[in-house]
Point group: C2
Chain length 320, copies 2
């Protein structure tokens, strides 16, 4: 099977944990162990978030020379280097010798007219108390928004339309190279009049970028790996119940938390509607079981319904 897996930024650096190199390495080592069985058996394309990391780089920039802060597209590129390297190192050390692995810098086109540019929603960097967040907003011109009981900086998160390096990614996957790409949702660029591209300050949602990647590669499965074990009906209520399987239409009838489970469900639906492969949302530790339909929320096209075991068994069988 051809599998695209998206790792949440919070799977790489847990919420509230200090953003040290050691913590990132330790979390990424855990992620690598969870991904290993998939890497050994399938063609794996790995993408990842960068919310905490791009926020950290922005704070480091501001602390050194606030007047010379680098724009977000360059910071996105830096996080692709940082996280790609750590993933490559940890996963590479678990793979048999000679199994190639590559991290590819990835630019993703967005529309300059995307409404996200006037309505920033993507949280980056650490969480703050409201008062501290408001002080940063006043001093640095940040947009801020609540995140649970805390507050965070938010930046524009436009929709990805086109992965500029998709041809190279396809070439590498066919050559049985494990590819880390589209990190942090890709580096956002917009087309210019003479046919080229320039960077733009934004952070693309990594699940939407992952869905586009999975669709563009005609993947058999698209896994979104996070710190909860499934999408839930009645999340945060006493009646909370994990959704084991659903079609895009069934999910469209429900509501999920914006900026959290909402984009994952939407990304799953986009991929499944466009392609016919299946999507799964769940815990990083369950990655291999999700691929067998044994864990997480499994999203498949209408008409493939039926009992979970039989249906996903059939799906995986058909796709292998």
């Amino acid at each position: 099977m051809r599998v695209v897996a998206a790792l949440g930024g919070n799977a790489l650096l847990r919420r509230g944990e200090p953003m040290t190199a050691e913590n990132q390495r330790a979390n990424i080592a855990v992620a690598a162990r969870a991904l290993l069985p998939i890497a050994l058996e399938h063609d794996l394309v790995l993408t990842h978030g960068n919310g905490p990391q791009v926020g950290l780089l922005s704070l480091q920039n501001a602390a050194y020379k606030p007047d010379e802060e680098y724009p977000l597209d360059i910071l996105d590129a830096e996080t692709e280097g940082m996280i790609g390297y750590l993933l490559e190192q940890e996963l590479g050390n678990l793979l048999p010798a000679g199994r190639p692995l590559a991290t590819l810098l990835t630019r993703i086109a967005v529309s300059p007219h995307d409404p996200a540019f006037s309505h920033p929603t993507k949280p980056i960097g650490p969480v703050y108390d409201r008062e501290e967040a408001e002080r940063h907003a006043a001093e640095k011109g940040w947009s801020i928004a609540p995140d649970g009981a805390k507050w965070r900086r938010v930046v524009p998160s436009p929709q990805p339309t086109d992965i500029l390096e998709i041809g190279v990614i396809e070439l590498l996957v066919r050559a049985k190279v494990i590819v880390v790409c589209a990190g942090g949702g890709g580096i956002p660029v917009v087309a210019i009049d003479d046919g080229g591209y320039v960077g733009i300050e934004a952070v693309i949602d990594k699940d939407f970028a992952g869905a586009l990647l999975a669709r563009s590669l005609k993947a058999d499965a698209f896994l979104m790996l996070t710190d909860v074990d499934a999408a839930y009906d009645g999340w945060d209520t006493p009646e909370a119940r994990p959704i084991r399987e659903a079609t895009p239409d069934e999910l469209a009838a429900r509501t999920f938390a914006p900026g959290s489970m909402g984009p994952k469900v939407e990304a799953a639906c986009r991929f499944v509607r466009s392609d016919g492969g299946f999507a799964a949302i769940g815990s990083l530790a369950d990655a291999a079981r999700m691929l067998r339909g044994e864990a997480g929320t499994i999203v498949t096209a209408a008409g493939r319904g039926g009992p979970l075991g039989a249906r996903t068994g059939g799906l995986v069988g058909a796709a292998t």
Copy 2:
């Protein structure tokens, strides 16, 4: 021809120039225009230095949380993202539509017993007056060394022994993809007992990494592009005279500035001695002319001597 070109960190960010994103973009746009004719006519693999950039990231880290500063291997990875993205953007915008270009994160193995780890020599970051450099050394544990009339931080610069991603680079070159790789000399790693690798704090010299890259790819030409037009006899004296052509043996009999022209000459000799291709050292603006043997210092294997025009004409002809 298969051409490996190494861009000096100072070609990306001129000495003494503020390290802003705008300055880097502007310099990289100039570099892209100089490289375009080569990219259009040949298979181009591009590598680059990161001295100013990795120094900047280290200062940004220290300004934010000095106790949580990221190690140099991770900062090297970040600079591969930053510089690779800018090169890709500027060169990509000059290329005809559909000509693929990829930036590949690159790890390069070094020996943990390399004497460089006890004798740091590689300058990174900005230049300082002596007094300021000594204050940083005392406060942050830096090693420092003179750089012209100024002082800079120096870090270990071990010899590269093995490019871990070389198979993927070869695959991309064969597929006619322009590849940006081994940026900043590559991310330095050392082999561990169970067959894997871990990062180590160092900055590999990008010319030595470039020579290894050129040798590993069996390149026809290895260009080192910098801010002087050639290697000189009697540099900084009234008798200064550019060296137009030489063999490795002829160069070995001379001395060049350590940490500056010295490593370039040594890198040229290593490549030429191992392979039979030719190396050239010169100004970024002369890149295309250097490839035709019309500018820079041209280094060829012994026995290929003769008048410059005839010799390099023959060489280029033989390699095409």
